[in-house]
């Protein structure tokens, strides 16, 4: 603890945006470099492994598709933790985190949906199936968009933060219910005909690049998230400065006249 001003002893010390900016500023190049390395290794592995004997080259879509889908779910969990932070501890950075994670999560969900659809066309012969998993990811995408719309609709950031935190938590409770009920609906109305990726029997040949890509995507998420949080903090500071400047600009001529 040589530098007392910026030393972070407790988690609550992170609440100071200046400290967060300093810490994230020093952390960011390393994170970005790690992301780049992981992506280089992951992409190299993805393109050099042998194709599946049935699926051929299209199996490589999996290395993008599956990590994106995992990240889509992890991002919502991060948002739920941030929402708890906003409501319970009133952590000032938590609402920044929740607000900035929503577009990133929506993008990952979108990537998962698009690559899944591209993969589904040669494999199942159709762009879209009302399969339980696809449907619940689609619902997740809709919820992300609703959250972004709610955040955009409110001017006051603290009020928007509380409202969206409540909505995030309600959604977090609901996502398992939706997932479960969609599975029920699917098995009731149509036979479980779609089996993607035979779960545990996946070959290590495919598993290795998949795991590396998952690590790369996770690193990418944190890099983007920290960048977006820094942006949001700076944007709020600029807004505050502008407001101050506007207030002072109104005052000075009055004083000058006297």
């Amino acid at each position: 603890m040589s530098e007392p001003s910026l030393a972070i002893r407790k988690f609550t010390d992170l609440a100071n945006p200046t400290r967060f900016l300093a810490l994230s500023g020093s952390l960011l190049p390393w994170l970005a470099a790690a992301t780049a390395v992981a992506f280089a290794v992951g992409l190299y592995l993805s393109f050099t492994t042998v194709g599946d004997y049935q699926q051929g080259e299209t199996v490589r879509i999996m290395y993008i598709h599956v990590p994106a889908a995992w990240l889509a779910m992890m991002c919502y969990s991060v948002m739920a933790i941030s929402a708890l932070g906003t409501l319970v501890w009133r952590h000032p950075l938590a609402d920044v985190s929740a607000r900035t994670a929503a577009p990133i999560g929506a993008s990952f969900t979108f990537i998962a949906l698009v690559t899944g659809s591209l993969w589904g066309k040669p494999m199942w012969g159709t762009w879209w199936v009302w399969d339980a998993r696809l449907t619940s990811v689609f619902v997740l995408f809709l919820m992300y968009l609703g959250l972004i719309a709610l955040n955009r609709a409110m001017d006051d950031p603290t009020r928007a933060a509380k409202a969206s935190a409540i909505l995030i938590l309600v959604g977090f409770v609901n996502i398992p219910i939706i997932k479960f009920s969609v599975e029920w609906w699917n098995t009731l109305h149509q036979p479980a005909s779609v089996i993607r990726l035979d779960g545990p029997t996946i070959d290590p040949e495919f598993l290795r690049p998949l795991l590396v890509m998952a690590v790369a995507f996770t690193l990418l998420f944190f890099t983007l998230h920290i960048l977006a949080m820094r942006n949001e903090i700076l944007r709020r500071r600029i807004a505050t400065l502008r407001r101050l400047a506007a207030r002072n600009a109104g005052r000075e001529p009055m004083e000058g006249r006297r």
Binding site: L87, V139, L142, M143, L145, G146, A149, L150, A153, M154, R159, K162, A163, S164, I166, L167, L169, V170, G171, V173, N174, I177, I178, F180, S181, V182, W184, W185, L188
Partner: protein
Amino acid sequence: MTALLLRDLKLSVRAGGGAMIGVLFFMTVVAVIPFGVGPDLNLLARIGPAILWIGALLASLLGLDRLFQAEREDGSLDLMLMQDTPLVLTVLTKCLAHWIATGLPLVIASPLLSLFMNMEVPAIGATALTLLVGTPAITFIGAAGAAIAVALPRGGLLVSILVLPLAIPVLIFGVSAVYAAVQDPAPFLPPFMILTALTLTFAVIGPVAAAAALRASTD
């Protein structure tokens, strides 16, 4: 609480309350569907329960944005926030009043519309029963959405967007319970029990979240 219930009911039934508009919307939606899918009576009988459920879902979303907004505009929301009774109970009472004013008429109107859909007697009964049990869940979860969007000037559309994904489980189990009642091999009780459980769960989550959102919107 009884006073609040009666007050809300009176307000919604009298002029400007718009409780009957929901039923009218419900009937219009159901009446429009045959023009879209064709007048084939067998097809209508098959998809009838689903149509009624979707119509009821949309109709109960229609009036949700007014749940707290009128109170906010005339200031009585602040009184409700300040009074001694827990805000959760107040919200629950308002939800019940809203459901009696807008949800219950849908349930009562549904047998008549089922006849238009050429549905059989067990299906008609099952539809009315599942709507009776399921529509409160939509109101409860919608109250959370309405409370979140209460501060927004044009929150009505946003409420629907936010609430519809959350209402998917109710729709799924409501419709599957009706189909289970009609088709022999599938048992009626499991989906119906899950629908009841959903309503009870939302009766807890909805008012708590709505109360938290209302508190957040005022300070």
